[in-house]
Subunit: 432 residues, 3 copies
Amino acid sequence: MQIIVLAGGEGKRMWPVQTDKCLIPFLGKPLLYHNLKQIKENIEAAEFIIISSPQVKDEASKIAQGLGLNFQIAVQNEPKGMADALLSAKGLIEGEVLVVNAEDILDPKIFKAILETDGDVVVPGLQVKKYFPGGYIENVKGQNSKVKSIVEKPGEGNEPSDLVKLVADYFQDGKELVDYLQRVETTKDDQYEAVLDQMIKDGLDIKYVKYEGVWVPLKYPWHILDISAHFLSKIGQQVSSEAKISEKAIIEGNVFIEEGVKVFEGAVIKGPCYIGKNCIVGNNSMIRESILEEGCVTGFNSDITRSYIGPNSWFHTNYIGDSVLEGDFGMGSGAVLANLRLDNKTVMVGEDHLDTGRHKLGLVAGKGVRVGVNASTMPGVRVGANSLIGPGVVLRKDLKENKKITIKEESFEIADYENSHTSYEQFREEIK
Amino acid sequence: MQIIVLAGGEGKRMWPVQTDKCLIPFLGKPLLYHNLKQIKENIEAAEFIIISSPQVKDEASKIAQGLGLNFQIAVQNEPKGMADALLSAKGLIEGEVLVVNAEDILDPKIFKAILETDGDVVVPGLQVKKYFPGGYIENVKGQNSKVKSIVEKPGEGNEPSDLVKLVADYFQDGKELVDYLQRVETTKDDQYEAVLDQMIKDGLDIKYVKYEGVWVPLKYPWHILDISAHFLSKIGQQVSSEAKISEKAIIEGNVFIEEGVKVFEGAVIKGPCYIGKNCIVGNNSMIRESILEEGCVTGFNSDITRSYIGPNSWFHTNYIGDSVLEGDFGMGSGAVLANLRLDNKTVMVGEDHLDTGRHKLGLVAGKGVRVGVNASTMPGVRVGANSLIGPGVVLRKDLKENKKITIKEESFEIADYENSHTSYEQFREEIK
Amino acid sequence: MQIIVLAGGEGKRMWPVQTDKCLIPFLGKPLLYHNLKQIKENIEAAEFIIISSPQVKDEASKIAQGLGLNFQIAVQNEPKGMADALLSAKGLIEGEVLVVNAEDILDPKIFKAILETDGDVVVPGLQVKKYFPGGYIENVKGQNSKVKSIVEKPGEGNEPSDLVKLVADYFQDGKELVDYLQRVETTKDDQYEAVLDQMIKDGLDIKYVKYEGVWVPLKYPWHILDISAHFLSKIGQQVSSEAKISEKAIIEGNVFIEEGVKVFEGAVIKGPCYIGKNCIVGNNSMIRESILEEGCVTGFNSDITRSYIGPNSWFHTNYIGDSVLEGDFGMGSGAVLANLRLDNKTVMVGEDHLDTGRHKLGLVAGKGVRVGVNASTMPGVRVGANSLIGPGVVLRKDLKENKKITIKEESFEIADYENSHTSYEQFREEIK
């Protein structure tokens, strides 16, 4: 059997994060690595076909090689949907295939359940408790596991079932799938859905498997926080023997510390947390429920909470709450990434006020962003790669790539001053 | 004997604090509770007449009931002075009465001393060392304890004695007092003082008792700090068995910790301090000589010194020095309430530069005030209830209720930026 | 033999530092003290002639007396170069003389080596590895230790040798030196150099001694950091028995703590560090590789790194990196002295962008400077004595003496605000 891994996704909505979704590192490894490894460990004797974008190809190959997979790579030159992606690999597809998304977090049990179900096509149906804007499975009356149709975004109240179709789709005849993909004409947005419709019309036996496990989508950059939480929920306490932890630091709960890490006196790490290779957790810093990818430095007295911190980021006496920092992020002393609206509304992003549904969301920053001393960013603000938020600035709106925002010089005024010079004693008294 | 407790005071000068003076909580109980309890414990078999404003009535009743007092409530509908207050209760007044202010902090010994002194009227005279703008007692020559007159605000150097009349006034005949209050005509501001004058003229035997004990007035909101200091001077070290104190926290001196409190690692509490029910003192926070009423949360790394923090306030990496926060106060990370003028002058408040006489005074905030991340408030600034001080703002003047102050968007400018991207190594080196 | 100590230097380039170079204290003693003491300990039976400016005279006398030196003081009334300085002492000069700069840090071995070398004049030649804009020694061919000429600033690539002439100049006949100084006419900037030229022409035997030891010049105020590093490299761990160090503080490495110092819980001092008399290191403060002269107070939670902190300075939750603070410096909570350009260029100072060659340089402040809460200063900014940097200000340019810079009131705007008041629970949840 062949596993077709769709790793060519574009992800405009992921802005300002530019790393291809499936290459974003979690716990020191790209998301693709985690998903390939999971499939390898749960499905026997599989051959992989990885369909990737041109820019992801080399990295994907390396990952698959590292895992010792039997694989081939197909390249989709432009991100033109799922059908087009599959057709990029048409020459490689032979018999039974299982189609999965490279970035979907799923419980591996679903793969087994799909493969154990008889049918020409078998798809998973995620049981949802409230309306989700996806494709709903309508089943054939009296036949619990047979799909009658897939209803795209029916609107709340019109759902034909409580099952949303995910992607972990089994086709008994891959060549037939390719044939359909080439043949079916549609006006629909997605040719792949049209193919499924046509197969149903043609009387193929299309089954679904109810799925009640975890599913963490990655559509917007703040979903990286959900995926982080998922990976953090899986770790135990494990400290590398090559890490150097001060006896005066506190490590509590499920904290995974990689080699080369230094944790200084007074630092507190409250699990679940992942501290990547060669990270430095400075004196009195506190890290809670966060991922720090490799090479990060917290500096003195930083407070990092529920955040995803990409590689080689550095801090110095900062608050970082519920933030997504892609990597190579630098922050001057006293800067704060605010994560909670003082009016307690859910955080909305961008000019079109997209509701993230989160009460807490800090900064979302692309790679190489710099934040000056005593600067502040407001909840849900996005900053493009390599931009600079100047010292003392309060950033309330998104900032594009390669920009800097500073306080105008005219905001300040200079006057003569006579210093009476005596506050020293008052201050000294305070500390006695 | 009847104790008449004047609890109807208006307190315009208490702005922005809106809680009626006698209901401001100290150590978890309203000021009225403390004073009623003290009188109950020091004067036998007393009946209480509590004269309150309409809005205080219910709460005052509850407090008196809770103390198991024998009491009646009279309502003064408008705050029209002490004589009017007493007349609100005229139907209840019968024989001997002792008139006290609900919010005055006095040593209970004075009540005993007053009641042990013979006279138609007996009043306390506070011995002062420097001029105080109150009513001074002129005594009858050769008769040390007999009052000749009360001289209102004589001006420095013109004092007839060093005794300022306080309120803990005994009248042998309460009905006669009521009669006087109804009968005496005056052009003076205060009818009550006119009554005392008339009684003297009419030859009643008016005595005074010299008082050298504590007296803490509550006229301006920063006096709450004086009252806090008074209550803190009375407490010992006591930690509720229902509190959870990290072994890595430091509790030093007279610190009273109520049930439900959590104190995290690295936190330092240096007494005298009161930490109310369910407060959370976060990692590395330091609290000195302060009251935190119930439900407060210091967050990570806050520094709270000589302050009064009303219920349900929250902080996060803040400095709070010599501040009065009425309650439900919220403060973003990095915000600072400055308490010391850099020119070392005493702190003055408002447009009329009222001198508080304090070298250190931070913010005075009504209920529900919010302070954004990295904002700063200048010494002695007052902020009305429910107002917001935006992130990064430097607040130098009073702010009314229900206002927000923010930095204008035009204060910032955006330009293109090319990031050379190499400061990481420099920074990393620093922490090695 | 007479040691002539040149202590009259002007030092315009030292702005905003006003203390005469040789009186700047290091490890509790003026630089002059250190240098005189070193000479005393290394050259036997010397008599000192200290040539000072009028304002330094008294202090220099006191220092010399304190060291029990045999000395005379000569006053140079205006800073008009080295020849003029020497001529100010012409009546005192008798026989053999050794001329040294009061502020030059040199290894004492060089004095011995100079004095052990035969010659009418003997000068030191510092071996340099890269071009330095000083006077280079050209030696007589075949005679390794004989000076042919001194070539001033030859330009890179044109150096006649790798030896830069320093000042530790021996003259066998001091009277002859005086004679030359009075006699030689020159159009050169420096008469002293012209004298050396003339002596060579006249056939005197002028030798040099190669010097490979330490030499720390003090030309610009940031050189104070280099001198600090030099002194710190000499200290061991030594804690006065009259200091009070909390058991919960961490002292690591070579830390010299004077009497009267208090170090509070959670403070970290990582050597090499010097903590002067009566300093207070507050809770959770961290000090690394720095000098704090006497009477300084770090307050709560300050982070002081690689800095020189002059006497009686005080801090409160601040970052001070690579900064030179002359003394009597005060800093409000949350203020930051940034030390690293986010673009990683070397720090340049002033309007003429003088390159300091340092990747890290914070603030350079004269005496009595005050910095308001949450203010920020940019790398390499200089602030004149007694000036004030207002709260929240971002200081990007030098500020003269006796000035204050503040944020304009018009930078803020006030609007109505309705507080929904519910973020307390969200916040509380965070800390659970």
